[in-house]
Symmetry: C2
Subunit: 413 residues, 2 copies
């Protein structure tokens, strides 16, 4: 993979396109051997294209297809292949139509974008002005795609996936698991040799604020392995792992806790309310990221100050004075109060110490109490997150609250 | 820059370390010529290190320093330099102390991490188990840093910045501007040739959910350019640009709107409350990301349902029936209601259509009304964001609310 642009070398953006392409190629069973990022210099880029095409079967470049003079991927590819640039009439028609739809005249400079190396296949781009192209260079296929991530993804879905699959795809089987409350290193200990490169099936894991996303991949061992058999092998390995880690597995097909909670709520016709202290709005923000959540979520409170806990949700001031705001008692009173005031069957509360300061020996930074009210019963839970990063403590606490909600909803059937 | 790890080639993570390092190196005036991402294969990695060290003055690698067998940066660097790995006693002492502080015995496998190539300088890592090292290879300096982003950043700040500055830094002048409410392409039109590579001073811009972060860089033209003169040149160019774009400039030194709002609140001893509909908690979440905000922020409401707007904040049901929930009238009533109920001088409200559906011809997806109450007066503002991405509409609306708050606070002196 080759990402092109001075803005990447200057650190103004991270190269997210290559990671996205690597993931998409992985779904086709195509392994990425290396990723290179190059600046907007035509000769240097041409040399890199030659080098990459000599060593690999497929080279996919993103970026450098805009209309301005510092967009040089077209020229560099032509130089690498030893061909000239030619106007593509299909690209001309697409570009004309693009500006016509917007009711603005096409600037002359955009005509640079209809030039592609002779011998290329055009990769049409209906969502931008930059078409891509696919060009054989030596034994490799060089594919140039637009840099804006949504354009890259659009042309991948529309045409490039099929082009790559036809040339390179190896059949493989896939199965997934989503876990909560297990560290990545503990997972690695349990999965052991199954995570080694080349293991069959091979297990990969990604951690994100308390969640683990596990991917099990089965590859072809010999000629004649059917696709169904590969899937069955991946699923069997995932089943075995799920059995070992049962209490942590919360889904086989969807990692977003807020989406799973929203689905369970919708299935039960139940409503949810939130009373947030340390998460400060992030829990409501996660729930309201789900389109259509307004059927299940009507209101929430951010009760940062003790007086707000009392006046908005009826937490007795004496309770706070006696146990402190970060306590099981206050977490319970917040959740019950929110459920009662909102008329919701489910209510979630958080109260904790996100940091960086204000921790104590008894309640260090990272201490969070959760309250989960579900149909008349309120349970509480204490969790301690690693201190040191206020936002990470808040994000982990948000996910933990969602996971507790999911457990409560599912336990009720 | 060289990022090491199969997880990067598989697209499980994007290479954020290289972008961060490119930005940090840019601050020292050091230009990044290329970025390479390699997998966990010792021989391939060693060959790449040799190639990069032959072509560049400095090569900084991140990742591959963990304790497990697939962490092979130490071995690859030793192979590239033609030296052996030796135990480092300082690393041994640091590692022992690290486990002792946690009260757990050190697993034998972690001893791999105290081995560094002979001739290296140890880069101590107080926040993790993986020390880095700096090793001359040919004419280049090869620096290996731990992969976890917070560890990488910590050792950069502690020691690597100074190491690199002593070897390579070119003096340059810097000035910044932060703008709101201007598109990146409109900015590029105005800045024109000043954004071209090699312009002096050169202007760069990064967009993020409605904010633009502008960096003006002046470089040495000839021997004897003093650092103060470079700064003055950058500042003069930033001043000229700020004059052209005056209504959009909100800061010269800090881009985080929530932090600027928090500072203005603290300076005035004022309190803020929020009443969120379409932003659904993200506005409170942004404010509460600022440590110490509890002195200024006590409570907020997420009033998604119309009934919640009425019962929590006193918005008359007839007002909603007459004008619709997404209206100036309701935005105003939400902000005034939140200010009154919270006893806050400043109150912010949002009500809009984040999408993906539920828009109309009159109020398309992306329509958001804002209310800003400040010391007895409530103003409203309508903004329309590009539809199509629910989360982007919500993030842009959050920043817009913060920008309106900042304008109100500053206008009051």
């Amino acid at each position: 993979l080759l990402a092109v642009g001075d803005e990447l070398l200057e650190g103004r953006y991270a190269d997210s396109n290559s990671a996205e392409l690597a993931r998409l190629l992985g779904e086709l069973g195509v392994e990425v051997a290396r990723i290179a990022v190059e600046g907007d210099d035509e000769r240097t880029l041409a040399a890199r294209i030659v080098e990459l095409c000599a060593a690999h079967e497929l080279v996919i470049a993103t970026g450098g297809l805009g209309p301005t003079l510092d967009d040089i991927t077209r020229e560099a590819a032509a130089r690498a292949a030893g061909v000239e640039l030619v106007d593509d009439e299909c690209a001309r028609a697409d570009l004309g139509a693009w500006f016509e739809r917007r009711g603005v005249p096409m600037p002359q400079i955009n005509l640079r974008q209809i030039r592609i190396p002779r011998g290329s296949t055009l990769v049409r781009n209906p969502v931008g002005t930059a078409p891509g192209f696919a060009l054989p260079i030596g034994h490799a296929l060089f594919v140039s795609l637009p840099g804006p991530p949504h354009e890259m993804r659009h042309v991948w879905d529309e045409s490039v996936r099929a082009l790559v699959a036809a040339r390179l795809a190896a059949p493989l089987g896939r199965a997934r698991l989503y876990l909560f409350g297990l560290s990545e290193s503990r997972f690695a200990e349990i999965a052991g040799a199954r995570m080694q490169r080349g293991a069959d099936p091979e297990i990969g894991v990604t951690a994100s604020d308390g969640r683990l996303s596990v991917l099990v991949t089965a590859r072809v061992r010999g000629i004649g392995d059917a696709a169904a058999e590969l899937d069955a092998r991946a699923r069997a390995a995932a089943d075995a792992l799920a059995a070992e880690l049962a209490p942590h597995v919360y889904s086989r097909d969807e990692g977003r806790l807020e989406l799973l909670v929203a689905r369970e709520l919708a299935a039960r016709g139940a409503k949810v309310a939130v009373a947030e202290s340390c998460t400060g709005g992030l829990l409501a923000g996660a729930l309201t990221s789900v389109p259509g959540i307004s059927a299940s979520f009507e209101r929430g409170w951010i009760v940062y100050a003790n007086a707000a806990k009392t006046s908005e949700l009826g937490v007795p001031a004496e309770l706070i004075a006696k146990h402190g705001a970060v306590s099981a008692e206050v977490a319970e009173a917040l959740a019950s109060g929110a459920a009662a005031r909102a008329g919701a069957q489910l209510a979630l509360s958080t109260t904790g110490i996100a940091g960086p300061s204000e921790g104590s020996a008894e309640k260090p930074v990272g201490t969070v109490w959760f309250g989960v009210h579900w149909r008349g019963t309120t349970r509480t839970q204490l969790l301690r997150f690693p201190p040191g990063d206020r936002e990470r403590v808040r994000r982990c606490a948000t996910n933990a609250a969602l996971h507790l909600a999911l457990t409560a909803l599912r336990g009720s059937s």
